[in-house]
Amino acid sequence: MLRTWRQRFTLTDVFIWLIGLAIAALVIIGTISTLRQGQYAANIWLDLTIKGLALGGVYALIAMGYTMVYGILKMINFAHSEIFMSGPFTAVFVAIGLSKSGFLDKQPIIGLALILLVSASVATLLAILLERICYRPLRNAPRLVPLITAIGASFFLQYVFRGLYGSGTYGYPAIKILTQSWKLGGINIYANQVVVFAGAVLMMVILYGIIQWTKIGKAMRAVSEDKEAAELMGINVDRIIVFTFGLGGASAGVGGILYTLLYPVVTFYMGFFPGIKAFTAAVLGGIGNVPGAFLGSFILGLLESVGPNLFLTGLGIPSPSQLKDAIAFIVLVLILIFRPTGILGERISKDKA
């Protein structure tokens, strides 16, 4: 008994578990001492929670692109963060134009719909182009080849957009009805956060519906299950892959506009952090698994928004929100080390590299 136990646990495992325990201990100690200090009132926590949920919704829409592509091609589409950037970075010109003509304040819903449409179409188009030019020729290449291609494509796209629209930042004009807020029992609820959350949930329902209840969604699931068998059943695999990329792009394009409702500044490198966090969320939920991506996104959104104050203040770290990006990365590292399959994922860690 003891011998098998000893054989199974190598020094590496001990080391890993020590790290894990240390981090868990830090989180618990930090949380307890933060709460005991009572520096933040209850309504601040609720504010942060709502913000985290809204952010999680945006991550979920971006994470869809990662998780669907991974499900079908078993590759990390690293350039997805640039697809996310392309939408809002292009649509900002529409938004500025509409705002200048006064249309956006008069007809905010139509205006917003127009901006969403532009953003989603640009992102969809780019995702399809990317698949056609960069990934299709590499479908049977060794695993690292498409990943390196994706990294290259990511940088290429970033700097193409920098070349096209300039290296400066553009601000999305504020929409009047979205700047209001309501007070509910001491909590400020901002209209933009509500709209972002609701929009994200609506979009998630639509996406889930497409995947679960339409014919093409069924084909997508079949392809992700077994490409060869799906092809034998008469499914046009190329078309399904293109559709998947397109759907992921559209979702990221919508997510991009929702993101600008929270952070209204766009620039060519805006995709990197949301992209990597959405990827983290997808991994957290179990990559390849659509509901998992939603779940992971909300958890990550909450961790990022509540986490720095909750875990780090108690440890005496000044300005903890500076470290919020590090929290996301630490979550990513930990989840990949301890549970690479994610919360809802199947066992895929045994796949060969």
Binding site: L138, R143, P146, Q158, I276, F329, P340, A353
Partner: protein
């Protein structure tokens, strides 16, 4: 590649793609940036090369895809592809006269369209553009009609003219140091670019030489040398390279030495990353983390500022920095090395970013200086001789490169190197053969961290200060790009990649703006077209082109080698 669509449909597609590429080059500002870079003074600029090359390329591609080998059909195909590309550009130029594209696309400026219409009035300008596109397409197709010998000589001669014209300023700066020798060359250069006679001379000289050499190669294979002669020849080459490397800063002067130092540090780190990615197949995107750790450790140990501790000399601090970097590599490596390839990439990326964010935060500011970084790092001294300028530091970096190069070369065919390659090809089989997966991978990772740390330490010494901003993700991508362009696993490839990807943008300021764009494009194009790189490792090349028939391998390097200048 044969498809069912007729070749004219393909030609139309190619033409439109060529137009789109030229348009993109224009709209991202690349054409405009080279608007004043004359290749041949007063005649031809680099901008025109960028403008017309896509048409020529698409003309060439279309003609190659044509099933008929009839000369007229080929020329017609090329011409059509070129013309269609020209139509795309002309259409956009015409639209831009009516609609203000510049409100969105910042580079769609009148200057750009003036360049596209060759500084003429709109209508004649557009006609000239179309004509130029047509001619470019036809020329592209015509390349197929001449014999391979002429084609090789011609394309390389053009390449040399373009490169020498482009680097006119640098070449002139260097040769003015050479005393009376400069008069042999100076007449070839004008105020900007090559002079017309210079360009003609260069074209004929290079073209003729290559034509002659290719003919000779065909007739008689290289004369057999005896082993003794071979050995003498090899030692002679090495001695020459060594002498050249030692004298390089003196030949180039202090400005170029600084660039040389930068290139050197990247080559050093490339050699290290090449072990991790090229030999062991572990895609490490957080390579910058160890670079940062090496740099910061050295900075903290040697600086005379308040954050400094111990105030050691470079020679004591550098080994400590290396130990710390390797330790960090092992600590990070242990938990993550059993992850699958693409997850490993993302985790290392995350780790690199964590380091940067943490260093930048207020939390560790008392220890690491936060966003203000650490300044006043002491310079290394040997006795009373202080390595205080770029020319002297060059030797330190050269020593680092020699060490890294030596270690990498020796390890490559060692037991360990073979274990790495076995793991790279198939982990399960390698493990079944008795290779200790974790220990072997950890050695690769630690080795990479060692050279990255060394690079960081040298970087900190060279700059004299460290800032968290210097250690962003882009550095990792930079190093990855340079080992990929040179060929994964290939040691000479690291030098080729370093010179091309780090040296070029530093030498030519017009390229600097497009540096990362070019990196991205290089990664994509290399992966799609030549995954083995420009200076490939022999085995890797054979592996990656297994499915192609023998002659295809022979043929392939020719066009790609001429493409590489762009």
């Amino acid at each position: 590649m044969k498809t069912n669509s007729s070749h004219w449909v393909k030609t139309v597609q190619n033409g439109l793609i060529g137009g789109a590429i030229a348009l993109l080059l224009g709209l991202i500002g690349m054409i405009l940036a080279f608007g004043k870079s004359y290749i041949i003074s007063g005649v031809f600029t680099m901008a025109q090369v960028f403008l017309l090359f896509p048409f020529m390329f698409e003309g060439y591609t279309s003609a190659r895809q044509a099933s008929s080998k009839n000369a007229l059909t080929l020329l017609l195909t090329g011409g059509l592809a070129g013309l269609l590309g020209g139509v795309v550009l002309a259409a956009v130029t015409a639209i831009a006269q009516v609609v203000n594209l510049r409100a969105v696309l910042i580079n769609a400026s009148p200057d750009l369209f003036a360049l596209m219409t060759f500084h003429m009035a709109l209508v004649p300008g557009l006609l000239v553009l179309l004509l130029a596109a047509l001619v470019a397409g036809i020329l592209g197709a015509a390349v197929l009609l001449v014999s391979e010998r002429i084609r090789g000589a011609l394309t390389q001669a053009i390449l040399y003219v373009v490169l020498i014209g482009l680097f006119r300023d640098l070449i002139v700066t260097v040769i003015t140091h050479w005393g009376f020798v400069k008069y042999i060359f100076m007449w070839m250069f004008a105020q900007n670019g090559l002079s017309i006679p210079g360009a003609i001379f260069l074209f004929i000289a290079v073209g003729g030489l290559l034509y002659w050499r290719m003919g000779r190669q065909k007739k008689a294979a290289a004369p057999k040398r005896t082993t003794r002669q071979q050995r003498i020849f090899r030692w002679g080459t090495w001695a020459f390279i060594a002498l050249f490397a030692l004298l390089l800063p003196q030949i180039l002067g202090s400005y170029f030495s600084e660039i040389l130092d930068n290139v050197g540090i990247y080559i050093l780190m490339g050699l290290g990353l090449n072990i991790v990615v090229g030999f062991a197949g572990l895609l490490d995107l957080g390579y910058v983390a160890f670079y940062a750790i090496g740099a910061y450790t050295l900075a903290i140990l040697t600086t005379s500022e308040s954050v400094g501790i111990l105030h050691l000399s470079f020679w004591v601090a550098a080994p400590i920095a290396l130990v710390v970097a390797v330790f960090a590599g092992v600590v990070l490596g242990l938990p993550i090395l059993r992850l699958r390839g693409d997850y490993l990439a993302i985790v290392t990326l995350g780790f690199g970013e964590i380091i940067r964010i943490v260093v930048l935060s207020d939390w560790l500011k008392p220890l690491l200086g936060g966003s203000e970084g650490v300044q006043r790092i002491v310079q290394p001294a040997i006795g009373s001789f202080i390595l205080d300028n770029q020319q002297k530091l060059y030797y330190l970096i050269l020593a680092g490169i020699l060490l890294a190069g030596f270690v990498a070369t020796r390890l490559k065919d060692s037991h360990l190197g073979r274990s790495w390659m076995a793991l790279r090809e198939d982990e399960d089989v390698a493990e079944a053969m008795g290779i200790n997966k974790v220990a072997t991978k950890l050695l690769a990772f630690g080795m990479g961290a060692l050279f990255s740390g060394l690079g960081g330490a040298l970087f900190a010494t060279k700059i004299g200060s460290v800032y968290p901003q210097s250690f962003s993700f882009i550095v990792s991508i930079n190093i990855l790009s340079l080992i990929i362009i040179g060929g994964l696993g290939s040691i000479p490839g690291v030098f080729v990649g370093g010179l091309a990807l780090v040296g070029l943008p530093l030498l030519l300021s017009q390229f600097a703006d497009f540096r990362y764009l070019i990196y991205g494009a290089v990664l994509v194009i290399m992966m799609l077209q030549r995954p083995e790189g420009l200076a490939p490792e022999a085995r890797r090349r054979l592996e990656l082109h297994e499915d192609e028939a023998g002659p295809a391998v022979e043929e392939k390097p020719q066009p790609a080698a001429t493409d590489s200048g762009h």
